[in-house]
Amino acid sequence: MPQMHLCSVRALVPLGEGEKRGFFSLLLEGCGLPDWTPGQFVMLRPESWSRELPWARPFSIGRWDGNGLEIFFQVVGRGTSLLAGLRPGESVRIFGPLGQGFAREENKPVLLLAGGMGIAPFAGYIPRRAGAPNLRLCFGHRAPLACYPYAALAGNCLSEHFPDERPGDLPSFLRRMEELLAGNAREEGLVLACGPVPFLRAVRDLSLKHGARTQISLENRMACGLGVCLGCVVKPLMDDKGRNRSRQPVPPALEQGLPVPVCSCGPVFWADAVELDA
């Protein structure tokens, strides 16, 4: 059951070359120790936030253990700018764990595809399968590698990364993704992807082309995090018989045809179950 936790900031650590790039690890303590699944998220709102910012903010769970809860974020707007100013000891409310995490198919080869800060949920995923012989991470990024929690993960799986700095970088990343994805599909494995929507569309298209079984994690703007405001919805892909088009089993909410909240029915979906092109 998701719950409210009043926790405090243990550390806010800038990643990469100091604070100016705006990438951070935030470590919170006193958040309890619930059961959670990689791919799930928390809603987070500092106690100091006034009514000026009414919404809590959603973040993938990077780590949640006896040492606390770690999330990773990049400054992209008003909320994250303020989070970048948090100090040790400050009170932060979180509620969670929320949403549906990634499939756990322990014996299958798993390919993780991450674009930018989309690597965050894999920080929670990889340690749970550390040392598995068939766990692979392919990571595309624009900011320097040190801005992301990559190094700590790379040792626990087969990993490779692709900076996107010059023309030609992106096509070679996509080519490599396709190779890996096709290989995973041949072995009837599982592909998990998180990143910006154009990246997820590319992953979805490649998955359809090669018949890969792929889950994607969406990052829609959220207000409530509980599935009630219906602000973060995504449309399910339906066939003409009114059934979800996914070849994988999907939860009942995705069979009803109405848009579904990403926060409560996702953020993880089978790539062929939802509309990414709207």
Partner: protein
């Protein structure tokens, strides 16, 4: 907490609330979604997500945007439809304690009547709240709530089929004179009025040169609208003799007392539920403590006592 109890008079008797704290429509789902954050029994009541006869897919994305002290939404009244609400959600709501108020909306009077007739026989539903901030298809799409005669027509249609249930009509502030609409609804048989629905608003992004919402114009809610809500509740409470429920930007026990002071019988908590889903459950106790501090014996004793 006897001093928090509110007995709201209406033509069918008394609508009894354990306390004046209700959850507002559209911010509390069908009620069950908040159950892990507090006991629903602690609330005076809850108003469901707006229900239509058939499931509605709502508007295109993006549908929400945060604004200073508030938010804009244009959800487009997405909901699971009456039948699924009755089958899947209503049976899971508590029967004793919080009043379950079904919010309904339709685009024509026949659908409003059918919604009222069905819900008036549904076990567990204690009242109906009519959303009149929706386009009247039979009158060229003008909102029911923006024209006195249309507002009265909906009220009468729902009232005719509402059986033993009291009918609340939720007023829109997007009118020249809210008291005119309030009087029309009261004259047409409304038992209570909820003031207010969201304020019409808009947001744009100078970098992308886009509207923040796909539907361009949406409804503003949150702390930013509280002064408008307070003004509307005060004006309406002066203008009609039926009870008024205050809604708009309420976050704290002090906010609740402000609305009671200007004449509200109860209040609804909306956008505040998004800041902290557990907050609403603590409000009745905080209200009680603040009343003690201010020597207020009961909600009734404080209501409308503005100097």
């Amino acid at each position: 907490m006897g001093k928090l109890a509110v007995n709201i008079p209406w033509s069918g008797g008394e609508f009894r609330l354990n306390n004046p704290v209700l959850a507002a429509s559209g911010t509390f789902g069908y009620g069950v979604e908040f159950a892990s954050y507090g006991p629903l029994e602690a609330l005076g009541g809850l108003v469901t997500k707006g229900l239509s006869l058939r499931p509605m897919p709502g508007n295109p994305m993006p549908r929400i945007a945060e604004t200073p002290c508030g938010m804009l939404n244009s959800i487009g009244l997405q909901n699971c439809g009456l039948e699924r609400f009755m089958r899947e959600y209503l049976p899971r709501l508590p029967r004793n304690g919080p009043k379950i108020i079904a919010n309904i909306y339709a685009r024509n009077l026949a659908d409003f009547s059918e919604l009222a007739a069905t819900l008036s026989r549904a076990p567990g539903v204690a009242a109906l709240e009519v959303n009149i901030s929706c386009p009247n298809v039979e009158a060229g799409g003008l909102l029911f709530g923006q024209e006195a005669r249309a507002a009265a027509g909906v009220t009468a249609a729902v009232k005719k089929f509402s059986g033993d249930l009291p009918v609340l009509v939720k007023l829109t502030p997007n009118v020249t004179d809210i008291t005119e609409i309030a009087r029309a609804c009261a004259d047409a048989g409304a038992d209570m009025l909820s003031c207010i629905n969201t304020l019409s608003g808009m947001g744009v992004d100078v970098r992308s040169r886009r509207f923040l919402l796909a539907r361009r114009i949406g409804g503003l809610s949150g702390a930013a609208v509280k002064p408008v809500a307070l003004r509307c509740v005060w004006q309406v409470a002066q203008a009609v003799s039926i009870p008024v429920i205050g809604v708009g930007g309420i976050y704290t026990a002090e906010d609740i007392l402000e609305f009671i002071l200007v004449g509200a019988w109860a209040v609804q908590i909306g956008t505040a539920n998004f800041s902290r889903p557990d907050r609403i459950f603590a409000l009745p106790a905080e209200l009680s403590a603040l009343m003690d501090e201010l020597d207020i014996a009961s909600c009734a004793a404080f209501r409308g006592t503005l100097a």
